[in-house]
């Protein structure tokens, strides 16, 4: 296997094709043969879906920071991290760095807001969770169907650090959320969830690599998704338990529904384990909406479309219910309901 050079939008040689194992189901090279022209400036318009929750904001418009691009949290804080794209056929890269200092509690509300068409966005964020700190990261995406969007998050957990992630993806021509998380010290605790709801020919790829290098770490992962029309949902989850990472407890689950004839779901849940005092499990299912439940609801006067929406909602909402922060949970719930 070839080592994968870090993606760099200015260098087409770094664009992975499906021959690169980690990009098997998201063939970036197919859609992007040459480096795109750099995007011009963009105006920050509407205040974004999390505006009502207040807090500080770090904003990137077409890759350019509007104000600061790094953020250090101490105490109890809320940060809205907004990646705004407004471009036609051009590309841009943004990079943010977030630090939660020891004992801090940060609610990180990340949005990928896109206007225009056929742009290429590459948004990177590094998150350091210091000892006993907690970060709750929620990611909402709203991008044009012909955009290409690759988001990368590098998360490092120190001793006793807690990290909670929920990605809510609606896809794009090619959309990928890659999370690389490292349990760098003892007793860290991570929840790395996601959901996808895809229409048309949209594509969403949620890829995570969770690396347990220290003992007593916990990882819990629940991914749920629904694809309609010709959409394609991808989940690749890798959990690594290195030698010495004893007492690791890692659980991963993926459940997908294909609600059309031509939808596609590809799943690759990996467990790579080199320590023996561990409990690791993964489960993956792919199926379709329960015909008998649909029939039951229609019999009781609910229209077929409504019944489908209700069942889809009930299926996906489990992921939203796991968000610990009540205010954020409600925003996500409404946001999702509006898209069913």
């Amino acid at each position: 296997m070839k080592a994968l050079a870090r993606l760099d939008l200015t260098d087409a040689a770094t664009f992975p094709s499906r021959r690169v194992e980690e990009w098997k189901y998201s063939d970036l090279k197919r859609f992007l043969r040459e480096a795109p022209e750099p995007s011009g400036t963009a105006v920050v318009g509407a205040p974004g879906p999390f505006y009502d929750l207040g807090g500080d904001a770090v904003v990137f418009a077409n890759g350019r920071p509007v104000g600061v691009k790094d953020y250090i949290a101490s105490g109890d804080q809320t940060l809205r991290l907004r990646f705004i794209s407004d471009a036609v056929g051009t590309g841009h890269t943004a990079a943010a760095r977030i630090v939660a200092r020891p004992g801090a509690r940060l609610l990180l509300l990340e949005t990928h807001e896109g206007k225009g068409s056929a742009y290429v966005a590459h948004n990177k964020v590094e998150i350091d969770v210091a000892a006993d700190a907690e970060v709750i990261r929620i990611v909402l995406t709203d991008e044009p169907a012909d955009a290409i969007s690759v988001a990368e998050a590098e998360v490092r957990l120190e001793a006793g650090g807690r990290y909670r992630q929920t990605i809510v993806a609606t896809g794009a021509k090619l959309q990928r959320h890659e999370t690389r998380l490292r349990h760098g010290a003892e007793g860290a605790d991570a929840r790395v969830d996601g959901l996808y709801l895809l229409n048309g020919a949209r594509h969403s790829d949620q890829t995570s690599v969770i690396d347990h290098v220290s003992p007593n770490g916990t990882t819990s992962q629940l991914i749920k998704g629904v694809v309609r029309d010709e959409a394609r949902g991808v989940f690749q989850g890798k959990i690594l338990v290195q030698k010495g990472a004893d007492e690791t407890d890692a659980r991963m689950g993926h459940h997908g529904l294909i609600a059309s004839d031509r939808g596609e779901i590809d799943v690759k849940p990996e467990l790579i384990i080199y320590a023996d005092e561990v409990q690791c499990a993964h489960g993956a299912t792919v199926g379709t909406l329960d015909e008998s439940a649909l029939f039951y609801m229609q019999q009781r006067g609910v229209s077929a479309d409504e019944a489908r929406a209700l069942l889809t909602h009930a299926f996906l909402i489990e992921v939203v219910d796991r968000i610990e922060h009540e205010g954020a949970r409600e925003v996500v719930r409404e946001w999702l309901t509006a898209r069913l």
Binding site: K243, G263, I272
Partner: protein, 488 residues
């Protein structure tokens, strides 16, 4: 408590690898190395038709252009393909007509291995035991095939593939390479170029094969590779159960075994293929042992056809093996039951592929992996559902058990669903042997090793149950032997 007693006895009586002896039979070799002349030599030696030689040479050309795959989670010193003998055969004294004429040295080998070659001594001393027909392959050639006459009465063809190429060339030509194409992968291409023997099975329409068929592979000579080719054709409505076993001497060199097995199941046919793989795994320091790089694939062409793979993998230094099913027929079904046990420095990357192309096709995968010592074991599998395959069902379960601090167990499944009506479930777990259960067993008087063997036998029970009787007992013993020395 019979099982416990058996486990205890087994552990007590058996040394690490009891099949590690070598036999001094007079052998002839082709010169070392691989080139078109060697291929011509093999083809001529086998008296093959011209098309077969061309087929081999074409395969060789393809092989030259291919690169050895490196994606598997195994590490090994690369093989020098020019430093191997591609043909080694016991010297024949005017082709034996019956068992009596077979070199007694050879018969002794099989006796020592516990393989019943004498038809009247089937499963020694057991009255009414089921008959098993055996094709014994020794290095590059088949030395004897039993029960041929009785099978012929039922219309079943069971013979070395080299013989089938002479006697039924059209049948072989029609099917050979249709499931595993010449250029399928590096080792399959190599095998296509140089295979020297293997078994050929044809079950005519509507025939239930009257006995189990079995092939027993033995590598004996040093510095040789074994490349056997098995082709099984189950015609409409037929049934066959096929067993495969293998052993090799203990040597401190690595020997290559690159086999290809092709199965074709037509309408309503069923094939059950069971393997107990016990190649020499190398010594405690990881020196020597077999590189087992095989391609096994079944083509469920017919509607309602069924192929079931059951494997017990305990041997080999490095294993790279994915018995697969192409489920083309409507309502066809594929099953894969696997136990992979690694100990010492063994590495195994094994699993299956279930390719669903036919409507309402079904598959079931049960894989149990046990890693001990400093070994590494990977389950790698693919379940793929084609857009036109409606109503597909799949269930997959992969469980890994870790014994000790220095081993690894990995699960890498690929699930690709392109049809909304499919229902697919996959679950996997990785745990270590439960302290509580071990303690419980030891409290009741079992030693630590006996307790481990008992618990592991319980862990792999779902798969053991799928094995034919003859193999189940052997496999159970193997489980215990393979784990010997893994605790403490």
């Amino acid at each position: 408590m019979a099982i416990v007693q058996e486990t205890i006895d087994t552990v007590a009586e058996l040394e690490r690898y009891k099949y590690g002896f070598t036999t001094d039979v007079e052998q002839e070799f082709a010169p070392k190395g691989l080139n078109p002349d060697i291929i011509r030599f093999i083809s001529e030696k086998k008296g093959e038709p011209e098309w077969m030689l061309e087929w081999r040479l074409a395969a060789y050309e393809r092989w030259l252009a291919m690169e050895e795959p490196t994606w598997a989670a195994v590490k090994y010193d690369s093989v020098d393909y020019q430093d191997l003998y591609y043909y080694a055969a016991p010297v024949k004294k005017e082709g034996p007509k019956s068992l009596d004429e077979v070199d007694p040295e050879l018969l002794a080998v099989y006796e020592k291995l516990g393989i019943p070659l004498k038809e009247q001594e089937v499963l020694a001393g057991v009255q009414g035991a089921p008959k098993v027909a055996v094709d014994a392959v020794f290095d590059s050639v088949s030395v004897v095939t039993t029960f041929k006459e009785e099978l012929a009465k039922a219309g079943v063809i069971f013979m070395p593939i080299s013989e089938a190429l002479r006697e039924y060339p059209d049948l072989v030509r029609q099917y050979l390479g249709t499931v595993v194409p010449v250029s399928d992968n590096y080792f399959a291409a190599l095998n296509s170029a140089v295979f020297s023997d293997g078994s050929f099975v044809y079950i005519p329409p509507g025939v239930r094969c009257p006995m189990e068929l079995s092939t027993y592979f033995r590598i004996n000579a040093s510095q040789t590779g074994q490349f056997e080719r098995t082709l099984i054709i189950a015609d409409k409505g037929s049934y066959v159960s096929y067993l495969e076993g293998c052993t090799a001497p203990m040597r401190d060199e690595n020997q290559l075994h690159a086999a290809v097995v092709e199965i074709i199941a037509l309408d309503d046919a069923e094939v059950k293929y069971s393997t107990v793989q016990n190649w020499y795994p190398g010594d405690a320091e990881g020196k020597g042992g077999i590189y087992n790089f095989v391609t096994k694939r079944a083509d469920c062409r017919g509607d309602r056809s069924k192929v079931s793979w059951t494997q017990v993998e305990t041997g080999s230094a490095v294993t790279w093996k994915y018995p697969s099913c192409i489920l083309k027929g409507e309502e066809s079904s594929g099953e894969f039951y696997s136990i992979a046990i690694t100990n010492g420095h063994q590495q195994a990357d094994t699993g299956t592929k279930m390719l669903h192309l036919g409507k309402n096709s079904r598959s079931r995968i049960i894989a149990k992996t046990v890693s001990a010592g400093k070994s590494d074991s990977t389950y790698r599998g693919l379940v793929s559902i084609h857009p036109k395959a409606t109503g597909v069902r799949n269930f997959t379960q992969c469980d890994s058990l870790l014994i000790g601090k220095e081993c690894g167990a990995h699960t890498i499944p690929y699930i690709e669903v392109r049809n909304g009506s499919a229902q697919l479930e996959h679950e996997a777990t990785t745990t270590r042997l439960s302290e509580a259960q071990l303690f419980y067993a030891q409290q009741r008087g079992l030693s630590e090793e006996e307790a481990v063997a008992l618990l592991v036998n319980g862990f792999v029970r779902d798969v053991l149950q799928e094995l034919p009787m003859e193999f189940a007992v052997e496999a159970q013993k193997l489980v215990a032997i393979s784990l010997e020395g893994s605790v403490g």
